[in-house]
């Protein structure tokens, strides 16, 4: 079912061919769909070659992959909302030709194969440009299409330390005299941070290219290396090496210049609040807010330099105050006093957080009954336009739901050929081979640490808020 389009959708006349998989580029494509672009996701019936967010990533409703499990993954739904789906089998030449024919009527191509694979399929930018001279294409890879590492594969979890964010992230370690010192072990933002940096970078580069195309008629190939995307956001750290020879900074949640600065334990299981003092006025306000005005004249805490020297003592004082309250109570008290403080929200808390609710950040999506998904909220985006429309246009597409539309209507493939495609599983609406993914019981997931806890009555909890 094509999504309803509004005149106010900024990309209403843009068609996108989305060959990409997993997180980074599919999410860029989902954002383009939110803006009104027609985004055609290239799917496949061959289970082993399917986008892994359709097959193994989950999560599945109530942790039970249903009869149509390949339509149900929660992460898949977030990353592919509002798109159309065409199945093909890129191993055969006919499918490769269909991609090329489709490129000739698309504006943008998104892909994240390694350079070797795209060349083997004959789908590299130079080949596709012959079909669409002003094509704009993002090729997203770990290391880019040139240089000695260009054929190396990459996944965000291992790429993150490689692109250097881990040099500036890590817990402190015990040092002499009970003081904590800079840690040795790199840590990670986690949650596929590198992937999202690539999504936002791709979106910016695509828009710059579309603006130029409208001015000059030129296309553009965007060679996006996630290694570089991650390196570009730590510029301060790289210049600190260039000018001062410093290589790392692993100081937990402390700040190199400000104090106090950190997260403090609150009431409840694994609950925390972040607190930062930007200057001495903030420090005075903190002392008053926690009911210890006498600290303002304590020489150990006279200025940020002294406070950083006595940070362990200071953190104990603040923790003693926060630990008897909820993270929201602490936030409220300190913000009322004009201080930067914020609860470290879990996703559960975010779903019912007043700020997210009032700004309607989570957008409800309705899936057709056969997918067996209740209406749920999905992540929106961090920007609102006063005039243009940006909203989730519909659910993620069911496998091959647009086969007839794309092949028949857009490309004029005749029924005889369509039948042949269906017979050899090039097109279809069902997975070929492989069964439903297994699911690990939630109790066991708590046990191995892949989740913290679970609420059996989560539906009621979400509804009552």
């Amino acid at each position: 079912m094509p999504p309803a389009l509004s005149e106010q959708a900024p990309l209403k006349n843009i068609r996108v061919l989305d060959l990409s998989r997993v997180f980074a580029m599919p999410f860029a494509g989902a954002n383009l769909a939110d803006l009104g672009a027609e985004v055609i996701k290239i799917d496949t019936c061959q289970t082993q070659f399917m986008d892994t967010t359709r097959t193994i990533t989950g999560p599945f409703p109530d942790n039970e992959p249903g009869e149509r499990w390949w339509e149900q993954g929660g992460t898949f739904q977030n990353l592919n909302r509002g798109k159309r789906s065409l199945t093909l089998d890129l191993r055969n030449e006919e499918s490769q030709q269909i991609i090329k024919d489709l490129v000739s009527i698309c504006d943008v191509v998104l892909e994240n194969f390694t350079p070797r694979v795209m060349a083997r399929f004959g789908l590299d930018y130079a080949s596709l440009k012959a079909y669409k001279p002003d094509l704009i294409m993002v090729s997203n890879t770990g290391y880019g299409h040139s240089g000695p590492w260009s054929n190396f594969g990459a996944m965000a979890s291992a790429l993150e330390p490689t692109h250097g964010t881990g040099a500036f992230m890590g817990y402190m370690e015990p040092g002499p005299e009970g003081r904590l010192v800079e840690g040795d072990v790199p840590n990670k933002m986690g949650n596929s941070y590198s992937d999202f940096l690539a999504s936002w970078t791709a979106l910016g580069a695509l828009m710059a290219s579309l603006l130029r195309r409208s001015r000059t008629g030129q296309g553009q190939w965007i060679d996006l290396a996630m290694y570089q995307t991650g390196t570009s956001v730590i510029g301060t750290g790289l210049l600190d090496f260039a000018f001062n020879d410093r290589r790392t900074q692993r100081i937990g949640n402390r700040h190199p210049f400000l104090s106090p600065h950190g997260v403090y334990r609150c009431q409840g299981h694994d609950q925390w609040v972040a607190i930062a003092a930007r200057d001495d006025a903030d420090w005075v306000a903190i002392c008053r807010a926690i009911g210890q005005p006498e600290l303002t004249s304590d020489a150990r805490f006279a200025d940020p330099i002294a406070r950083r020297q006595h940070q362990e003592t200071l953190d104990e004082i603040i923790s003693a105050w926060t630990s008897g309250q909820t993270s929201y109570q602490v936030t409220e008290t300190l913000q009322t006093a004009g201080l930067p403080a914020g609860a470290v929200l879990t996703a559960k808390q975010a779903l019912t957080d007043p700020q997210y609710i009032e700004r309607r950040f989570f957008e409800t999506v309705h899936n057709p009954p056969e997918v067996e998904l209740r209406d749920k909220g999905y992540v929106g985006r961090g920007w609102k336009f006063s005039k243009s429309e940006a909203r989730i246009k519909g659910p993620a597409p069911q496998l091959g739901e647009a086969n007839e539309y794309v092949l028949g209507e857009l490309l004029g493939v005749d029924q005889t050929r369509m039948k042949a495609f269906a017979e050899d599983w090039t097109i279809g609406n069902l997975p070929e081979g492989g069964g439903a993914p297994g699911s690990v019981p939630l109790d066991e997931q708590v046990e191995i640490g892949s989740i913290v806890a679970y609420d059996a009555d989560y539906l009621n909890l979400l509804q009552s808020e």
Binding site: M155, M169, N191, L224, Q228, L239, N244, N253, K348, G382
Partner: protein
Amino acid sequence: MPADLLNGFRVLDMGSGISAPWCAKILADYGAEVIKVETPGSGDLARRMGPFAGDDPNPEKSLTFLYLNTNKKSVTLDPSSVSGRKLLHRLVADADALVENYPPSVSKELGLDYASLSAVNPGLVVTSIAPFGQTGPYHDYQATDIVTYALSGLMYHSGDSDQPPLRNVLDQSFYVAGANGAAATQIALFARLSSGEGQHVDVSAAECLGAHLVQPLPYYNYMGAVKGRRPVRGAGFEELMPARDGYVAPSVQGSRPWEVIANLIGLEELLDEKFSTGAGRVAHGEELKELLTKGLAQWDRMPLFLASGEARLVFGMAQDAGDLVNCPHLEARDFFVEVDHPVVGQAKYPGMAVRLPGEPLTASQPAPLLGQHSSEIFVQELGYSAEDLVSLRQLGVI
């Protein structure tokens, strides 16, 4: 020479610190003409942020400022004064976009709200970046990076499960917000091509990060599960593990058979059948971690990383700032640019995140000195006389 993509666009960067300047720098790198509008005397807040070149706290030596403001011009004016606002409006009249990150209440006081600016130039795109956006119960909340990261819902998932949530020292919230702001500003400019009108873009840094919750969110609203930080138990894959000269991130991902991984690490015991499936690696996690530790101890980071890439595996390695500045791959891709600054001298700066074949590489104009381009812009472009500038300076307007 900058890239040509945004050639002809003029952007006013009224930002300070990180988010809006990073947004404007991305636009500058794509070829827009970006003019920083700074407060007379003190300028962009980043000029006071450490670290500094040579650890000398001089406003022209802030490394964050130097990095985030390459390829821009700088003028000074005080938007709260009558003459300053008049100057600003002259600039606004000729601009395509204006990016700012004042606290929402302050931007209104300064006349930087969309209603005032669009009255001067209806085609202007105004992008406002704030920690929580322009509306909602938190819009006036005080925030720094760690507070924004916390309230976004993302920080909870960073770090180890037996330790507190952990942030990155380099203010990542505001880089994510800036990159989103650059995309959103251009979307509004693209919409202007058909509507002829500008509009207001309200960017919330916390929501930009909240959009990353594509796993933790459905974990809860699909099955009631609270996803947390990385468990400390496990076999050591997808974790940072010690190698001989630092840390590496061995990975089982990449769709290659287990024996390829076992052979790469090069420890015979790893070839045991019981480790060859995901379930087996969980069941024998502790034993596997011990063997992995033993195997990795024979490797330096770089040779292991290269051998993994050749074997079509996806191992990572922990690199520090020095490793990256000297990385042969980044050098082969001309990632770093030599920038020569009149006060701090020459250094290698990170270039654009993307490579644009056929376009010039990242431009290398140094960050501007405070008000460096005031006379160029005010006299040559806006037609003020040199005497006018003197009187504006005496009034403290520029």
